[in-house]
Subunit: 101 residues, 2 copies
DNA sequence: ACCGAATATAACTTTAAAGCTATCTAACTA
DNA sequence: TAGTTAGATAGCTTTAAAGTTATATTCGGT
């Protein structure tokens, strides 16, 4: 599953927001959503497999925290694509300046 | 459909790359993919609805170009989330520096 | 060793996205 | 104005993601 596919789901984006500030136990995360525990657990699984979160066992609970690596991968794609766009925009403007002084 | 949902599909991401540099006709875009024309047309529809591309009629063909607005929206979400993460990382390091001089 | 709490996995159902073929629309061209 | 080309829409099928309940696992406490 690619980063963008993982980010497509709003529940998963919200989870990432919740664990960005500090690590949080799975149970507490689940409380934030209007769905069953297993459903949230499955989302956590997807996030783990994609490397977007990491887990740490603390007694009986599992603490999740953000792992920003894959996020910057996505950010890069956006930045590159946008850069290509503005490069071309600049070229166009330069051309207009030249032909229409 | 949210920006991230739209970006989840690899065909759509590739289309955005193809129209980032300069506007391109729908037919030429379709040639770049191993799928039917209508399938590509549907992706273009999704991209239009999301405001990620705009179209211009040129004779018999339709020229698509990137519209970067919604992209920066997605970029912002990533940036904010990452920022929250590093803010906390900084706080943690400061704490460690303080307790472990 | 046993029990309860926290979380994960299994098996299943429902829904929607993505593809296909066939058909329609719009614009240029003879 | 009839034909041709470019592209979009309609209707349909298949696949996979996301949810559900039930069951399994793992750890700490008694």
């Amino acid at each position: 599953m690619t980063v963008f596919e993982v980010l497509a789901d709003p529940t998963r984006r919200r989870i990432l927001e919740l664990v960005a500030g500090q690590e949080q136990p799975a149970g507490w995360l689940a409380e934030n959503f209007d769905m069953s525990g297993p459903a949230v657990s499955k989302h956590l699984r997807v996030l783990r497999d994609a490397g977007l979160v990491s887990v740490r066992q603390a007694g009986t609970q599992r603490l999740y925290r953000l792992d920003p690596g894959p996020l910057s991968e996505a950010e890069q794609w956006i930045a590159t694509t946008t850069a290509t766009w503005s490069a071309n925009l600049d070229a166009l403007e330069a051309h207009l300046d030249q032909t229409n002084p």
